[in-house]
Each structure stands twice: as C-alpha cells, then as structure tokens.
C-alpha cells in the first residue's frame, strides 16, 4: 500500500498560468478530500468527493478553482489563471468512507506562483 500519492511534489507557475494537481487515493477508499495549507490560514478545507461524486465544495474559491474525480483511482484539482495568493501546499486525503473514518494524507503539492 503506497498510501495517498500526490503529483507533482512541487510546481512553479507564472502568474496567469494554469496548474493541475493530481491525487491518487488509497485503493479501496471511497472518499477523497482536498485541503490547502498556508502559514496564515492554516489547513483549509476545499472540497470532498465520495464514490467519485462531489459532496461538498463549499471551501473552493468560486472562481478559477475546480476539482474532478473522473474515476476511483484519481482526483484532480485545477487552478486557472493562477495568482500569487494561490501559493500554498495542497493536500489530498482519502478515507474508507466519507463518514467517520480515519483520514490518510498524501505528502502534498507545493505550488509556487511567481
């Protein structure tokens, strides 16, 4: 079991470019969560899928951010027209079931927008 895999580990983009972050949950886990971590804001919830269906995206910025889970083995977080304030570590986690289960986090993707 390789755990939750996130790629890339580091991504540098220029202001206005697009960034796509990938997450492969633990095999058999039905829930996938995306969080963003910065020194100022701490760990912020972004969005949550269960059985590939979006359940709660209330933490996603309304513009420029989108997340998908096209199959049970991966989820993507896309940021269009990246801005310097998008710089953060983006963390993906999975759990067996969305409700009342242990979260397992990936190592994160550090996004730097220049």
């Amino acid at each position: 079991n390789a755990g939750v895999i996130q790629t890339p580990r580091h991504k540098v983009t220029g202001k206005g470019q697009e960034a796509t972050l990938w997450c492969e949950p633990i095999s058999g886990h039905s829930a996938v969560f995306w969080y963003r971590q910065t020194i100022v804001q701490g760990l912020e919830f972004l969005t949550y899928f269960r059985n590939q269906a979006p359940i709660d995206d209330s933490g996603m910025p309304k513009e420029r951010f989108s997340a998908q889970m096209p199959n049970q083995s991966h989820s993507t977080l896309k940021i269009q027209s990246t801005q310097p304030q998008d710089s953060a570590v983006y963390l993906c986690a999975s759990s067996l079931d969305g409700g009342q289960n242990t979260l397992y986090f990936g190592a994160g993707t550090r996004l730097s927008v220049l």
Partner: protein, 107 residues
C-alpha cells in the same frame, strides 16, 4: 480555525518529560482525529476517536463530546516527537482543523 481551538500554539519540552495538548470545539463534533505533521510536511494520523479514550505507546488521547474538547497526552517525550500536532473534528460532512501546536523536544 475558529471552530477548533488548539492550545498551546507552541510548546518546548525537555526530553523525557510529559505534556498535554488540548482542542476545544465550538461545533458539535462527532469524531476527533489527531495528526502529527513532521518536518518533511507529511501529516501522520495518530488517533481516530469517537467519545472516549485511546492509547498508543507513549501517546494517549481523550475526546469528551459533551464538554466539547479533546486532549493528547505525550509521555516521556522523545526528540522524534517534534513537529506540529493538529486536531481535527468532524461535524456533519465536514472535518475542521485547528491551527496546530508546534512542539519542540530538546535533548
């Protein structure tokens, strides 16, 4: 976060001593998880709790849903315990994180 308050925000311990971290909740938490974020940035799950207590080696955690708090006790602190400890509370479909306690264990 404003829904999960962790204390203290930072802590320095001498190796071999004991301490306790605390989380207070302003939400109706049904479960609590404790994580350690190591210097490499990886978040490692330490405990998953429904109301009650759990123990694992030198770590012990308790969750009181009626009084809306959880504690993490560290016994005989070791250098490798250094890092940032986060608690996370589940309410409804959401899991809310505290701002963390930065722990440094000194020799």
């Amino acid at each position: 976060g404003d829904k999960v308050k962790q204390s203290p925000s930072a802590l320095s311990l001498q190796e071999g001593t004991n301490s306790a971290l605390r989380c207070n909740f302003s939400i109706a938490a049904t479960t609590v998880q404790w994580f350690l974020q190591n210097p490499r940035g990886s978040l490692i799950n330490l405990f998953y709790l429904v109301p009650g207590t759990k123990e694992n080696g030198r770590l012990k955690s308790a969750f009181d849903s009626k009084e809306s708090y959880s504690t993490l006790h560290i016994r005989d602190a070791q250098l490798e315990d250094s890092g940032t400890y986060f608690c996370a509370a589940e309410a409804g479909n959401r899991i809310f994180f505290g701002d963390g306690t930065q722990l440094v264990v000194k020799p």
